[in-house]
């Protein structure tokens, strides 16, 4: 399905049972599934390290690297301040 959200670092969007997070990676805004690589903790409630561009999860403090976040990216297109994302159909 198609999701529209604000194109802004740390904008969050919830669809059915899933959460998505917009964040900066290498100067570009991308959208990732808001789930930690470890046990699915809410990355959007974690902390972002501007230098390394890693996100530390609030549940067990595991660091999700750009590589990890890459694996959680959603197809997205930004037009101005609007981000359009293609996400899986909620079941």
């Amino acid at each position: 399905m198609i999701l529209q959200m604000e194109a802004r670092h740390w904008a969050r969007q919830r669809v059915a049972g899933e959460r998505y997070l917009c964040l900066l990676q290498e100067g570009e805004l991308v959208v990732v599934l808001d789930r930690c690589k470890h046990r699915g903790g809410p990355l959007s409630l974690g902390t972002y390290d501007e230098r390394t561009q890693c996100v530390k999860c609030p549940w067990h403090d595991m660091v999700n690297t750009p590589r990890n976040l890459e694996a959680r990216r959603m197809p997205s297109v930004r037009v101005g301040s609007v981000m359009t994302v293609v996400v899986p159909e909620p079941d």
Partner: protein
């Protein structure tokens, strides 16, 4: 100050005590397993309100009185836990459900709680004494040392189980001893959650969501434990094996209820929680391997494997996110309570391990056809018991002879495979050990007497 123990002795409260003694949930069962979690056989006949306050000591933890007091206290705490049957209530279940959770019954039990807590946990106060100027650095050094010593040695319990003739039965007996805790895992932690106590409140919540599987039922730790039980042929029904919970297994479970129910024990709870989370990975890794080696590919060790991983996080979280910030906020003065919690949970762990191993040895002897009396017993007084008579599993304070003069009886110590005694056969229950008896077929003439002094080997 109000002393509920003294109040209980006043004649005006006799009806309350009589009500408890006669209450449905506490009546004896009729067989080895219990049909529903609302039935909690607790033999209050030998007790009076005035006798409840006599504290247990380290040396009297494995006694009949300890068993009764611990069953009672455990059942009282568990009135805070909701259990539902797996399917539509039978009429009997519905009645028992309303009986166990009846507000007046709960209130009557609650009045006993302070005196029972004193009698069950007083020995901890006397046995453990934390003194001197503890700082965070001391606590760090002390826990690091305790943990590295714990992890340096392989689990003696696992080794002992491996060396038995029936490691499968021994492992099951162990699973039964942790069932009072694991079947409702983290319910004590849930007790610690209501309220509003600052940032650590949210840190405890993070541990809690792991324990409860993030709202994904198959991931909930109690569900994982049920899967383990099922995979080794044990019923996952809550407390269906209630009869085999040893007094110290109940005590261990109740300890965590106590320190979460009594809010002033919060700092002790945090210490105790840290220690439990800390020791689990090392033990569970070995127990998981033991289950694999014993039961083969079909065993589900998910419960134990899950803890090998997640409790490494939990012990770090308990230390860095609970202990440390609280010491920063409230000062070094709260450290001794934390140390007390660590030592208390460690001591209770040791005590329940010993209790289990002794029971296991007794079960092994029973299974091997041993445990025979040292001398003649046939002259002892016998009583006639009708077929089906069930003498509930109980702890015997002194060695007792159980001998069959006529008929056949089965006896069990928790291996869930009773040994049948025919006429002329007898066993001895050692002091502090648990045994249940059921009369088979047409009834029996049974000796159940203290072993005479001179007959001791």
């Amino acid at each position: 100050m109000l002393d509920t123990a003294a109040l209980l002795e006043s004649p005006a409260l006799h009806p309350l005590w009589q009500h408890l003694q006669a209450s449905g949930p506490y009546q004896p069962g009729r067989g080895w397993t219990l049909d529903n979690p609302y039935h909690r056989p607790t033999d209050l006949s030998g007790l009076s309100p005035g006798s409840l306050g006599e504290p247990l000591r380290l040396e009297t933890l494995c006694t009949r009185r300890s068993l009764v007091l611990n069953r009672l206290l455990f059942n009282i705490y568990e009135q805070n836990n909701l259990y539902l049957p797996p399917a539509r209530f039978s009429e009997q279940e519905m009645q028992a459900f309303h009986g166990y959770y009846a507000p007046d019954f709960v209130a009557a039990n609650a009045l006993l709680r302070p005196v029972l807590e004193r009698s069950c946990f007083d020995f901890l106060t006397g046995t453990i004494s934390v003194q001197g100027p503890w700082s965070m650095a001391h606590l760090e050094e002390y826990t690091r040392d305790a943990l590295s010593r714990f992890e340096a040695a392989p689990s003696g319990l696992c080794e002992r189980i491996r060396r038995t003739a029936h490691p499968d039965k021994a492992a099951r007996l162990f699973l039964l001893q942790v069932a009072p805790d694991f079947l409702s895992e983290a319910s004590q932690m849930a007790r610690a959650l209501p309220g509003n106590y600052g940032p650590v409140h949210s840190e405890l919540m993070k541990i809690f969501i792991d324990e409860f599987g993030y709202g994904v039922h198959p991931q909930k730790h109690s569900t994982l434990f049920e899967e383990t039980l099922t995979s080794v042929g044990l019923s996952p029904r809550v407390h269906t094996h209630y009869y085999w919970y040893l007094p110290t297994s109940l005590l261990m479970t109740s300890y965590f209820h106590w320190i979460t129910a009594v809010k002033t024990r919060w700092f002790e709870y945090v210490g105790a929680l840290y220690w439990i989370e800390a020791v689990v990975p090392h033990f569970n890794r070995q127990f998981s391997r033991l289950l694999h080696d014993t039961f083969g590919a079909g065993v589900n060790t998910g419960y134990f494997d899950e803890h090998v991983g997640i409790d490494l996080h939990h012990r770090r979280m308990a230390f860095d996110k609970l202990i440390r910030p609280m010491v920063e906020r409230y000062g070094d003065g709260v450290i001794p309570a934390m140390v007390r919690g660590i030592e208390a949970s460690r001591l209770l762990g040791d005590v329940s391990e010993r209790d289990f191993l002794e029971q296991m040895d007794f079960c092994e002897a029973l299974a091997a056809g041993g445990a025979a009396p040292a001398g003649p017993w046939q002259g002892m007084p016998a009583r006639e018991l009708a077929a089906g008579t069930f003498l509930e599993p109980n702890v015997y304070d002194s060695p007792h002879v159980v001998g069959v003069v006529k008929g056949r009886v089965e006896v069990d110590g928790g291996y869930l495979s009773p040994r049948v005694l025919a006429p002329g056969e007898a066993v001895v229950v050692p002091a502090g050990r648990m045994l249940g008896v059921r009369v088979l077929e047409e009834g029996a003439s049974l000796v159940l007497e203290p072993q005479a002094r001179e007959e001791r080997g």
